[in-house]
């Protein structure tokens, strides 16, 4: 091929790229480029070499000029097309061009446990003065491989995420920073062990405690898949990337389903892409990324070598910054940070134990402070003040009670127990004999009474029997109709009369044990001690932070319907005398979806449990996932709440999760799924994505019972299945057995 052919080919590819990016849209500039190129190619045989050269030159200039012009016209959806384009830079390009050398770990092309996830040990060399330093990094990220089929578009399978986690832990051992590169439309939603949701949860939980610097670079940040490696100290976003709670098509499918029964128009997809605020600018404004790295017009492609250089500087700077901000003395840190712009400063990338702890605290605070503007707390000022005071006094109390006295008391108790044990062993036999002797003495004899008890009425304080306690009557019980049990075919269950089913049977088929959905109020009355529930932060309110079309109205409806201001109710209550903090996701409030308000309430509840040294129960009456209409404001709750949970667990808390009905997606893949004790009520469905989404994204046919609790248990996703009628007893039992002597605190 001649040089000219090559240049023409090049221009043709540029045109094709532009056409791909702009999709089906009519655009004068694009057609202009097309016709110009076409004219030139038509005229080619009649042109002399110099003419060709000149015209090619001006054509190339025209391309550059118009590309810059088109850049300004990019819509959010165009950006989605950019990052998904096969010509988009991919992680392999970055490894080649940003790092000085690397070894890929556990992958050679398609030979890998999951070719869509790449791990590499890489290093960056820095010349400072005469010295050359090699700085090692763990690079982790999704690989789209310019459209290679086996890369699965960067959609990582659960075991791919598990591999990522494994090497994050290696990085901790080696005390080297982690650079993650996010190139994923979302995780591959299969439930096979370790399970899409549960593995992401494990990753996020682990990242919440990784005490080495983590820098994340986001190109395509698709929901849970992005969060699986995205909990970073610094998040850099490429200017043409997107970071979103759901793909615009997915959002459109959900919105479209509600609206017009299935047909999804490209306009709706465009509108969703716009409304979800998925661009780098939007996310920077909202605070979910730290900075933007500008790409060449219409997005970075492998030939943009300058861009890689910029990226290299950016990740080095980010890493230095993190290290310096937590290292050593405050004053020194400030000075060092100010000097950062000088590339000649060399910063060693290892962290001491203390600095590592500071890093984690900083990371926790960073995420804790996010999305604060995306909900409303209409609690009156004096109540807020009261809360602050009470929180402080609780902290002080807990410190004194558990840290100060607790420690000594424990030592004393242990000693006392040991002594008691000895005494008991010594005297046990003697005492036993003595008591027998005693009973034989005439005065002490109490057998008379016992005989009476055999034939006459004994006293029986029934305590709180089921019937006495069950004062809540489900509105479902107030209708004269029957309901069919879905297992009729299998077990010949009879239709159940609603008053029997919901009044007497707790919504459980008396024949086969199938659980019908039960409203959350039932649990409030039947799980917790009567009159022991005290709600907190009830006035924390869900908003429509993105002004997403229609959400306002839907929220108002939900608020009116449920009497709650958000989909999460937080309260303290007793279970047979054991006080617990509970966060309850209400299925009836927008499907139990989690947005900024819900996340904030959840975090506060976890903090309250930590402060008061109480066990924490997440009761998931149902959750459809993250509230998509809140965009990344919702998505960020995944790492946010998980950080709170981790802090609580590390302080010694006991965190139980109980799933009812349907629990899917984001929450399961983060702050719920990270609990070591997750239980499900029979007939619950638990998973990452619903059957419809799985079918669409993977083309797999999903059996009807794919997500049911028993399958989840067999796959190791949950730790047990409970009957609804036994929840109270089981919870109490769990609290007793897992809590141990000091109940919830180590």
């Amino acid at each position: 091929m001649t040089e000219i052919d090559k240049q023409i080919q090049d221009l043709k590819e540029r045109l094709q790229y532009i056409q791909d990016i702009f999709g089906n849209r009519e655009n004068a500039n694009v057609s202009l480029l097309g016709s110009k190129l076409n004219d030139f190619v038509q005229a080619l045989p009649s042109l002399g070499p110099s003419q060709i050269k000149r015209q090619l030159g001006s054509l190339s200039d025209l391309f550059t000029f118009l590309e810059n012009k088109l850049e300004k016209e990019l819509t959010p959806m165009d950006r989605v097309r950019i990052v998904r384009h096969p010509q988009r830079i991919c992680l392999k390009d970055i490894l080649e061009n940003v790092y000085d050398n690397y070894t890929e770990i556990g992958g050679q092309g398609e030979y890998s446990i999951d070719p869509s996830m790449i791990i590499a040990r890489a290093y960056i060399t820095r010349n400072v003065g005469k010295k050359i330093y090699k700085q090692p990094v763990m690079v982790i990220g999704q690989e789209k491989g310019h459209g290679q089929e086996f890369r699965n578009g960067g959609s990582v399978k659960p075991w791919g995420n598990a591999k990522a986690l494994e090497y994050m832990k290696v990085a901790v051992t080696e005390n080297i920073p982690i650079h993650t590169y996010i190139f994923t439309p979302g995780s591959y939603p299969v439930e096979d062990y370790p399970g899409a949701a549960q593995q992401i949860a494990r990753n996020i939980y682990a990242m919440a405690g990784i005490n080495v610097p983590v820098v994340a670079v986001i190109s395509e940040g698709g929901s849970g898949g992005a969060e699986a490696i995205g909990l970073a100290d610094t998040r850099i976003m490429l200017s043409h990337g997107y970071y979103s709670v759901i793909s615009p098509e997915g959002a459109a499918a959900i919105e479209g389903r509600a609206k017009s029964g299935g047909r999804i128009s490209p306009e709706l997809v465009e509108s969703c892409a716009r409304q979800l605020r998925i661009t780098a600018q939007d996310n920077l404004k909202m605070g979910y990324i730290d900075r933007i790295l500008q790409e060449p017009a219409l997005g970075a492609r492998p030939e943009h070598f300058d861009f890689f250089k910029k990226l290299r500087q950016e990740v080095i700077l980010a890493t230095d910054e993190i290290i310096l901000s937590v290292r050593g003395i405050k004053l020194f840190r400030a000075i060092a940070l100010r000097k950062l712009n000088n590339p000649n400063i060399y910063v060693r990338w290892g962290l001491s134990q203390k600095s590592g702890e500071r890093l984690l605290w900083r990371r926790y605070q960073k995420y804790r402070s996010l999305s604060q503007w995306a909900y409303r707390d209409s609690t009156p000022a004096w109540q807020k003040y009261k809360r602050a005071v009470s929180e402080t006094s609780w902290s002080v109390y807990s410190f004194l009670r558990y840290e100060f006295f607790g420690r000594h008391q424990r030592a004393i108790t242990h000693l006392a127990e040991d002594v008691q044990g000895e005494v008991h062993a010594l005297f046990g036999r003697a005492m036993h004999k003595a008591s027998r002797l005693l009973r034989k003495l005439p005065g002490v004899k109490n057998e008379k009474e016992e005989v009476c008890q055999l034939t006459t009425l004994s006293t029986w304080e029934e305590g709180m029997s089921w019937d006495e306690h069950c004062r809540y009557i489900s509105p479902q019980a107030n209708q004269d109709r029957t309901l069919p049990c879905p297992n009729t075919v299998k077990f010949n269950c009879l239709d159940l009369w609603a008053p029997d089913l919901f009044g007497d049977f707790a919504g459980v088929c008396s024949h086969c044990g199938h659980h019908f959905p039960m409203e959350y109020e039932w649990y409030l009355f039947n799980v917790f001690d009567p009159r022991s529930i005290s709600e907190f932060s009830p006035r924390l309110e869900s908003l429509n932070p993105l002004d997403f079309e229609g959400l306002e109205h839907k929220l108002d409806q939900a608020k009116k319907q449920t009497g709650h201001k958000s989909g999460c109710m937080t309260f303290e209550a007793d279970i047979k005398g054991i006080r617990v903090v509970v966060a309850m996701l209400l299925a009836r409030f927008r499907g139990g979806s989690v947005g900024a308000a819900e996340g904030e309430k959840f975090s506060r509840a976890v903090e309250q449990a930590r402060r008061k040294h109480m066990p924490f129960l997440a009761y998931v009456h149902g959750t459809a996932g993250i509230r998509i209409q809140e965009g990344t404001n919702g998505l960020i709750q995944m790492p946010r709440c998980t950080l709170s949970v981790r802090r609580y667990l590390e302080a010694g808390g006991l965190y139980l999760v109980l799933y009812d009905t349907n629990s899917y997606a984001g929450p399961v893949a983060s702050f719920l799924g990270c609990s070591p004790y997750q239980f499900a009520i029979r007939s619950a469905n638990i998973g990452f994505a619903g059957p419809g989404v799985i079918r669409e994204t993977t083309g797999l046919d999903i059996p009807p019972d794919y997500h049911n609790a028993f399958m989840a248990l067999s796959r190791g996703h949950i730790q047990g299945i409970w009957d609804r009628r036994e929840i109270r007893n089981n919870l109490h039992h769990a609290l007793r057995t897992m809590g141990g002597e000091f109940l919830y605190y180590r």
């Binding site: 005989v451 034939t455 004994s458 029986w460 009879l494 239709d495 009369w497 029997d500 009628r725 007893n729």
Partner: protein, 468 residues
Amino acid sequence: MKKHKILIANRGEIAIRILNACRKLGHEFVCVYTKEDAQSEHCTEALKQGGPNTLYRISSYQDPNEIFAVADDSEATAIHPGYGFFAEDFRFARRVVQRTRKLKFIGPSWKIIQDLGDKINTKRVARRLNVPTIPGSDRPIVDDLEAEELARSLFNFQNEQGVEQPVILVKASAGGGGMGIEEVHDLDRFRTVLRGIKNYARRQFRDEGVLIEQRIFDFNHLEVQILADSHGKVVHFGTRNCTVQSIGRQKRIEVAPGFYPQSISYAFDADKVLNDIIDYSLRMAREVGYNSIGTWEWIVSPMGNPFLMEVNTRIQVENGVSAIISRIGGQEVDLIQEQIRLGLDERMHFEQKDIRFEGLGIEYRILAEDPENAFTPWVGRIENFSWPDFPWLRMHTHIPRERAYDIPTEFDPNLALGIVWGQDLEQARDRGIRFLNQLVLEGRNYMGEPLKSNIQFLKENTRKLLVF
């Protein structure tokens, strides 16, 4: 009197008896049947006496929804549950009166069914009223130490009573029907048994409470027939003895009255025992506000100590044997008619003193079964079934006489009830034997083998009736 339409939610002979009672009282009725039961005489009778609209085919006798759907379509105003099926299902009774289109339930009010259906509650009510119950616990025991203490004193108690080989029973308090019961013969084994039962109960009933009771041997099984209206009047129709049973504790012969001291001598004062259990039963019925027909079941130990076992809040199979010896104004009583009257809120129009007892009744339950082979049910076709007509014989059956009949395998295997009356025990026994001798019950199964029945068993036991 308001005319009612009564849906008979049952099958077989009881359905026939109820429909006859309805006719005699001037009420309409509706019958139901399932496809297995199409050949039953209760269907034929329904069509004969009520016409084509009085018979509905349903998918199952056990499905309340079928009953209510038929009740609404046929515009029934009351439901008679018979025995078995819904007779003691308080939820069914509750639904009858709480559904949008309300009906009358011919039986006690649902709350009473619920309370007396709970054996622990019944036992506690009895003890509160100083009615003797089986020695042992009257509430679920959860605590192991308490259970052991109770077991120990129960053994001591029996020793004091002179029981030679005391045995106690450990039962899951939530169980029933023979599930989760074990015997303990000596205290050392108690712990192991208790653990086993508790584990079983926790798995099976999600409730690990146990009951601990004395096991009584060689007892007689007696019953007191009670009738009460919803206006506070309670009367009794004497006692029955139902001691002749199959090995599966299924009654085979019932005799009224319960003992016969006129010609049989007992180790205790039989009249006093009978009077005592009648008094106790009436006392309890008044206490709980009983308002229908019902049976108080007793076991009487060889020493003549009665213990209340349970209360059956329904009409029983053997009601006829009490009826045949009862007279009001010289007339034989029909307890089913009385039950229906009271169930439709009528007042009882007689007093205890109006009820007179005459002679002795024996009820035989005739089944195709092999008493020599563990009472195994015999399945096949009945080809010949007949009996002589006697003025002292009442025969209740759903087996057709004019055509062959395949015994359905889905239901209770009772074929017929023969109730014989006699002036005294002697005469009743003779008549019983005479009846059984003349009764013809023949058939063949698919292999050509002849029908096996319990007639011989009934005959053999007739001689020993009421001897304790």
